[in-house]
């Protein structure tokens, strides 16, 4: 890398001066470009949609750039405060939030409406990295329990809104922090077994309608009018794409209105129908490159905080990918998680790019902090 810096083209030098990591940026832009291409088809060839998405991408990249300028040392100092503020906002949301679709998720601040659960996707891994990175690793049993509590409080608050998809992402962000900090395998196994043992107890305590909801969640095809409808149609779309796909703008299933939410959560079905197996594998490969690069950056980081934060952010990003694609191709239950950098929508785009900005900051500030 040092060599690249010395001999690099002017553009690379500019990027490095801006504390942007060129390989990571390249991967992100490649995925976003694929996203734009699919969105054009999924959105019925509407340029309006493309422009809006482009604006969001621009805002996201700007946020990324800003985040990349913040030294990790500052991030570390802010972590507990950000976390506390996030918790405060979550409580506020539950007490006085705006209702939307049967859930309280937003706070109306007059000018903008804020969705605090979104920020927790970053604040929670920061807090975990701050807390665990402070002392020797792997963490003691007591520290693991405290970390568990730090994770569960925001997760419970978000689940209460209710927003199960987001609480799942927050929980996994925290859990990845613990895993990367070196949580002993034996403990991990213990937690998993305890969790499994508690399932029947929880099941017993649930109301009938809640059980029904869980069953639908696990087996969407039992609800062919709701979640199952999406699954059936998206499987047909993807499956009919074949190895090479039907070609761009030629996806009959998705373009004949059979596929709901084809610009947002189910956009991968459009992609799969039009670009086939090879297109899908290529996109997965792009995601893998981005995650690999981010994990590499995390391993190279200066201190535990940087390592844990970059690592858990990278893995959370990966959870988005697996949950979304898994849901579209019928491997996982339907949860409202977008396909990162591809699905139409602004909130997750900005959060994700902010996370990448933080990862870039951890990379670019390294040498400055070194003795």
């Amino acid at each position: 890398m040092l060599g690249a810096r010395a001999r690099g083209a002017p553009l690379t030098r500019l990027l490095l001066a801006l504390r942007v990591d060129p390989p990571l940026l390249l991967g992100i832009l490649a995925i976003a470009a694929v996203g734009m291409v699919v969105l054009y088809s999924a959105g019925g060839e509407s340029t309006d949609l493309l422009i809006q998405q482009g604006v969001r991408l621009g805002i996201g990249l700007f946020v990324m750039l800003v985040a990349a300028q913040i030294p990790p040392r500052n991030l570390r100092l802010w972590s507990p405060w950000l976390f506390a503020a996030g918790l405060g906002l979550l409580v506020w949301v539950l007490v006085a939030g705006e209702m939307g679709g049967g859930a309280r998720r937003w706070i109306d601040l007059g000018i903008v409406t804020v969705q605090p659960s979104e920020g927790m996707k970053i604040a929670v891994p920061m807090m975990v990295a701050w807390y665990l990175g402070d002392r020797a690793l792997p963490p003691s049993f007591g520290r693991v329990l405290v970390t568990g509590a730090l994770i569960m409080v925001p997760v419970a608050l978000v689940a209460w809104q209710p927003d199960l998809g987001t609480s799942l992402l927050i929980a996994s962000a925290g859990a990845f922090g613990l895993f990367l900090a070196g949580l002993r395998w034996r403990l991990m196994l213990g937690f998993l077994l305890t969790g499994a043992a508690l399932i029947p107890v929880g099941w017993h305590m649930m109301y009938d309608y809640q059980r029904r909801r869980v069953l639908t969640f696990l087996d969407p095809e039992s609800d062919p009018l709701g979640a199952g409808y999406h699954i059936i149609q998206s499987k047909i779309a993807v499956g009919s794409g074949g190895l090479y796909g039907k070609g761009w703008l030629n996806g009959t299933q998705s373009r004949l209105d059979f596929l709901p939410e084809r610009s947002t959560d189910f956009i991968f079905a459009v992609f799969g129908e039009e670009f086939g197996f090879f297109g899908g594998v290529l996109l997965l490969f792009l995601y893998l490159c981005v995650i690999g690069r981010a994990l590499y950056i995390s391993a190279e980081a200066q201190d535990s905080f940087g390592r844990l934060l970059a690592g858990s952010l990278a893995l959370t990003f990966f959870v988005y990918v697996v949950v979304n694609i898994g849901m579209v191709i019928g491997l996982l239950p339907v949860v409202g998680v977008p396909l990162p950098l591809v699905s139409y929508g602004g909130t997750s785009m900005v959060t994700l790019l902010c996370a990448f900005g933080i990862i870039m900051s951890i990379r670019s500030h390294k040498r400055l902090l070194a003795p």
Binding site: P138, G272, R307
Partner: protein, 636 residues
């Protein structure tokens, strides 16, 4: 922190992290391979299967509408049923030229521009293969004509279905409500999944309140269709769960009788069983035929109903707000006794008007009663006694006591849209009018005038509470069974156990009234009996006619204030400015089984027009449901 830092082995930690990161990376790779494997399975191994489904055929998922539950009266007579009917539907993706098709259809079926307009609106948001209705309730002749020429109209279907029908027409329409076509507002409110196949939804009354129970759950049919959208075969089917039938406390006979008794007058009648709050009759006149609304009412018909001065669409029984007039005197009397402002036998001299000390304004009585005690003041409806009592009690005290009987607040009946009414007090006036309370206002509120407003239903409930000697009831129309959810005002969060909901729906909204002197109830009820039985009772005419002991109270609600010094001359005043007539009653006085509130708009005095309605209703009910011989009734 510094202390523990010294113990840290940074090399070891970095190594540990690296191993974990590699493990995570390998995990990610494995998951990506799983996804890729699944893609391979879908797109290579099962490609042909899905390609077939996609290219030549499509799997279509159709929802099957559940049958709506029936509504019965207390004796099982049908109030709302489903009749078979035929609908003409057009399927967007199979109709090539909509305008041409419509033009050709004109010679086979009747439809007007409103039908076309509705079709075009629905056309926009319809799924391409779902039929959009053009005309409902085709006649047999039309069905026959169309069937013969079917081949000429690709994309035009005759769909057999069930249509809601109200066999008794306008009878009980304000309690029953009606169903109508689902509209945009309904779609916002309802679970779109459950209503995928449903075309009608409860718009008002019981049909609205018990929508959840009546609706049922849709079924699902998976069919294979070809490129044109024609169904090739049914893959599987899951039958819909029909809505539950419900039984009301309403008595069809009594309901019809009540409506007939009101005759051409505008007004409302509410009859309750005071023991449990079961609504026996709930009439609001004039009414309208709910069948008109089921498949979309014509613009002109609707405009006529909406703009009619007698407001047939308006449910006077639960939404009409009227000054209660003298019907609140028994309660004010109880308040006076409870507060020891009055003794039972304390007499006053009524000169036919009342003045406040040091003021010249005369508050008139309808006549000079001479010497009257509290009991006479109820039975002869002496205003002066209550002007004076109101001044003693004060408005705040009086308002608080009236509210204990549920006046001025919703009764919690299981119907949507109930109104509050108003029991004012000085605090209310300051907040809402920004003005102080004048003592002159207290005077007129003592006889239920001024700002005071109640609904006929509230009057019936308050009367039932007097009949029960303070025990309140919550009026309800649902007889038995466990409804999943009742919608009257706020939405319930989670579905609950049916019995719990019924129990809560039966919970009165006010607390029982406990008097310090229990016999005050007897005193006031006896005075109310004197209204019909006493020599000078204001409703003695009905006492003579009825074989039962009726406890009642007349009332007159002023619509039009007469200027000071002018005489009230009913004949000279236009009909719509004439007073509303009120009468509340329960019987038998000893062990009440029916409580009634009657309101006749512009009916003049309560005794002349409202009381006979109540008496005939009570007599009919008690004749059909004779109470056990004296002393055997447990009263509850």
């Amino acid at each position: 922190m510094a202390g523990s830092d010294r113990l840290r082995d940074y090399e070891h930690e970095a190594g540990l992290y690296r191993r974990r990161a590699v493990a995570a990376g390998v995990g990610a790779l494995v998951l990506v391979l799983v996804l890729a494997g699944r893609l391979f399975h879908l797109q290579y191994l099962s490609h042909e299967h899905y390609a077939t489904l996609s290219d030549d055929n499509r799997v279509r998922i159709e929802a099957i509408a559940p049958t709506r539950g029936l509504i019965h009266d207390r004796d099982g007579r049908i109030l709302a049923e489903n009749l078979p009917s035929f609908t003409l539907e057009l399927v967007p993706e199979r109709v090539e030229d909509l305008d041409a098709t419509l033009e050709r259809l004109r010679s086979f079926v009747d439809f007007d521009s409103a039908d076309v307009e509705r079709l075009r609106r629905a056309w926009q948001r319809a799924r391409p293969f779902e039929g959009v209705p053009l005309r409902f309730r085709l006649s047999r002749e039309e069905v026959a004509r169309l069937s013969v020429n079917r081949h000429r109209f690709p994309g035009v279907d005759i769909v057999a279905g069930l249509t809601r029908h109200y066999p008794w027409g306008r009878t009980g329409v304000h309690a029953l409500g009606y169903v109508g076509r689902l509209d945009e507002a309904d779609l916002q409110r309802l679970d779109p999944r459950s209503y995928r196949a449903t075309s009608h939804v409860g718009k008002n009354g019981i049909e609205y309140a018990y929508e959840e129970v009546l609706h049922g759950d849709p079924g699902v049919r998976r069919v294979e269709v070809n490129v044109e959208g024609r169904v090739l075969r049914v893959l599987d089917e899951q039958a819909p769960v029909p809505g539950e039938d419900i039984q009301l406390t309403l008595d069809l006979g009594l309901q019809r009788f009540a409506e007939r008794l009101l005759g051409p007058e505008d007004g409302a009648v509410v009859a309750l069983d005071p023991r449990d709050g079961a609504v026996l009759a709930l009439a609001s006149q004039p009414g309208f035929d709910p069948n008109l609304f089921v498949n979309g009412i014509g613009r002109d018909t609707y405009a006529a109903l909406r703009d009619s001065p007698s407001r047939p669409l308006f449910n006077r029984a639960i939404r009409g707000q009227y000054p209660p007039g003298s019907t609140i005197k028994p309660i004010i009397a109880l308040n006076g006794l409870e507060r020891k402002s009055r003794d039972r036998d304390e007499e006053i001299h009524c000169r036919g008007y009342y003045t406040l000390e040091g003021r010249s304004r005369r508050y008139r009585d309808w006549k000079a009663h001479g010497e009257v005690d509290l009991s006479d003041a109820i039975s002869q409806s002496c205003d002066v006694m209550f002007y004076d009592l109101a001044m003693d009690l004060g408005m705040t005290e009086m308002a608080g006591f009236l509210r204990k009987f549920g006046l001025g607040q919703p009764t919690g009946i299981d119907l949507p849209g109930e109104r509050d009414g108003l029991i004012p007090d000085p605090e209310w006036k300051r907040r809402n009018r920004g003005e102080p309370w004048y003592s002159g206002e207290t005077v007129i509120h003592g006889i239920g005038q001024g700002y005071m407003q109640v609904t006929p239903l509230q009057l019936a409930t308050a009367t039932a509470q007097i009949a029960n000697r303070g025990r309140p009831v919550r009026p309800h129309l649902l007889a038995e069974a466990g409804p999943a959810e009742v919608r009257t005002d706020t939405k319930e969060e989670a579905p609950q156990n049916g019995d719990a909901v019924v129990a809560r729906a039966r919970e009165p909204v006010v607390e029982p009234v406990d008097l310090k002197v229990e016999t005050d109830w007897d005193f006031v009820i006896d005075a109310m009996v004197d209204v019909t039985e006493g020599e000078r009772g204001t409703a003695r005419a009905i006492g003579w006619k009825s074989p039962h002991t009726i406890a009642g109270k007349t009332g007159t609600a002023q619509v039009f204030s007469i200027a000071q010094g002018e005489e009230y001359d009913a004949e000279a005043i236009a009909k719509q400015l004439r007073d509303h007539a009120l009468f509340v009653a329960f019987a038998p006085a000893k062990a009440p089984r029916i409580a009634v509130a009657v309101l006749v708009e512009n009916g003049g005095s309560g005794s002349a027009t409202a009381a006979p309605v109540a008496q005939q209703l009570i007599d009919r009910w008690l004749e059909e449901h004779p109470p056990p011989a004296d002393g055997e009734d447990d009263g509850g």
